[in-house]
Structure formats: C-alpha cells, structure tokens
Amino acid sequence: MPASISDLFWAFTRIALQGFGGVVAIVQRELVDKRGWLTHQEFTEEWAVAQIMPGPNVVNLAMILGGRYFGWRGAIAGVLGMVVMPTFIILVLAVTLANLIDYQLTRDIMRGVSAVSAGLIGGAALRMLGHLNTHVLGLRICLVLFTITLLAIAWLRLPLIWVLLPLAAVGWLLSYRAYQRAVRT
C-alpha cells in the first residue's frame, strides 16, 4: 500500500517513464514484485477490469488503484502520474529530435524496440498464466477459455466486443457456479 498520495503519483510516474509499449509488464514488476501493493491474483483481476473499460488500460489501472487507496484524489494522482511527465517528454522530443533524427537509424532501432515490446507484453501474460492453477475454475477450463479467446482475436480477427461479451458471460456463469459449490461444501 502506498504511503501517501505523492508516493502514488511518483510510483506511476516511474512506471510511465519506463514504459515503451509494454507498460503492463512494468506495472506488474513495480506494483506486485517490488512494492507489494498487490498480489498476483489481485493484479490480474484489476487488470481485467481496467481492460474491459473504455480508455487506455494502464491509465485505467492507475486510476482504479489510486482510487482504491486514496479516493478520488488518489485516482487523479494516479492518472496524472501516468500522463503528465510523458506528455512533456514527448513534446520536448517532438521539438528537439524530430528534425535532427536520422530516419533510417530510427527505423532500425524501432524494429528492435518493437520486438522487445511484444516480448514484454507476452512475458506479462505468461506470468499471469502461471497463476491460473489457483483459479476457481481450475486450470483446464481456464485454458479452454484462454484458447478460444486467443483464436477468435488473433486468428479469426473478430471484433473485440463480439468476443468479449459472450466469453465474459460464459466465464461469469461458470465461476458463479464454482463459487456457489465452494460455499455449499
């Protein structure tokens, strides 16, 4: 748990300034591993909520967590931490670099950074997958839901909303029954 609102602001500023495309991996590292503000399961759940809401996922996450700890002022501090410094940095970059940059070298570097960014996102997902064996649905059903979603989005390229709505409903029903069974026994 963060010590103060400014602690929260600087934590998210640090996260934002380390994020080059794969911010989710950095949030996981900073908040779960280093600071211990959340457990792995909590992180995955909050990330799920942040992802189904409209708006940028990491900003949503910063706001949800900020709000959890310090109410609406924490929420504002979380969002500002995520966006204020990066905005100034990108404007400075736009002014100083844009005209000086050797575009061929930039493109070469960008390809390497993008390949790593993809790996950061994938690595964060792998770590979340590793924690599914304590899930209420059990590992097998989780992997079925996971595979269907992945095929529908990455292979069939179905619109997000048509994948999310039915699968969220199925996942909700199955988990609901699993929790009920757990309560009864």
Binding site: F20, E45, V49, L91, L129, F146, I153
Partner: protein, 202 residues
C-alpha cells in the same frame, strides 16, 4: 480577429476526442483510425505524414501509447495560420498555446473514460465479496490474459520485415522468457532491443 478560430478549433477537437474516449475499449490506439479521418481527411488540420510521425514518435517515447494524442493537439496548433503569423512577433505565445492545445487533447481522451471507470470500479469494489462480482472478475481473467497474448502477437506482426522474420521472433521470445523467468530490469531489455535494431540484427 482570428483568435476565435483557434479556440473554436481546440474546442472542436476536445469534443471529438471526448466522445471517442467513451468507446475506446482496448485503449486510445483503437480509435486512431477515426482520429486520422477527422484531423487529416475531413478537416485537413494535419498532413498524413504528420499524423504517422506522431504515432511513431509516441511509440519511441516513454509512457502509455495514448501519448500520440497530446502530440496531435500540439501539431494542429502549430499548423494553424494564426499562430504562424504570431511566430515572428511573439514566439513564446505560440508555445504556450501549443502546450495548452496538447493538454486539452489529453484531457479530452482521458477524462470521460476515467470518470466512467472510476464509478464502475468503485461500485464493483464495494461489492467485491459478493459472489456475482467475484465470479465476474474471475471469469474474465483467462479471457484477458488471452487478449494480452493477442496484443503481443499484433505488435510482433506489425514490425516491418527487413532482415527476415526469425531474428525478430527470437528476440521477442527471448524478451518474453526473460520477463517471465528473471527479475532483469526491463529497461535493459528495451536497450538490448534498440541495440539489436541499430546493429541491423532484426
């Protein structure tokens, strides 16, 4: 006076982004095509090149991927003929207005979705012990992990192929395994990727 043109333009962009914010599920990048249509095609406030450069620069810079939004606001202000006339007599005023325009665009894309999310999340958190809410979050977990993997694949597929596909795949897999299995600082991974790119390995 042409001042009203600037304020009106800022206001118009604000409202357009404000509306888009509420439907931007999956992040600001999902509404980028619509913003391109609005700024470049319909209004001609930016050139297609300026739009693409803003997206590319935002990817290179630290921060969430929505950082192209303030950059667009900034560029639109600098493009306006009124500010162009001012740039000789009062350059500082031009910078101030451009920064204002950048933050106005940022606020518009962040505020509506944040308010909505804040209220829904607080509502859900207050009921977090109820089975219905717990089951909703739990049921989403495997689905959301799959969305992350899909996002990783999408980023990987979007990289232009110059030195073959396999070195890129190898670099991506290596980065993923290092994130998964080690506590190596992520900036080292980014720096490694930049170097691999600069040396022409990927």
């Amino acid at each position: 006076m042409t001042w009203s043109v600037i304020w009106w333009q800022m206001w118009d962009i604000f409202w357009h982004l404000f509306m888009l914010s509420l439907i931007a599920i999956g992040g600001a990048i999902t509404v980028a095509p619509d913003i391109q249509r609005y700024l470049v095609v319909d209004n001609g406030w930016l050139t297609p090149m300026q739009f693409n450069n803003a997206i590319a620069l935002a990817q290179m810079a630290p921060g969430p991927n929505l950082m192209f939004i303030p950059l667009l606001g900034w560029q639109v202000a600098l493009n306006s003929p009124t500010l162009d006339q001012l740039s000789a007599s009062a350059p500082w005023l031009v910078w101030i207005i451009a920064v204002l325009s950048a933050f106005s665009a940022l606020l518009a894309i962040v505020l509506p979705s944040s308010l909505l999310t804040y209220h829904l999340a607080s509502w859900a958190h207050a009921r977090r012990t109820q089975i219905g809410i717990k089951a909703f979050k739990a049921g989403l977990t495997p689905v959301v992990i799959a969305l992350l993997v899909a996002a990783a694949l999408l980023v990987a597929q979007g990289i232009p192929v110059v030195n073959g596909r396999w070195p890129q795949i190898a670099l991506t897999v290596l980065a993923a395994v290092l994130v998964w299995r080690t506590q190596l600082h992520l900036l080292w991974l980014i720096a490694g990727g930049a170097l691999a790119g600069a040396f022409g390995w990927v």
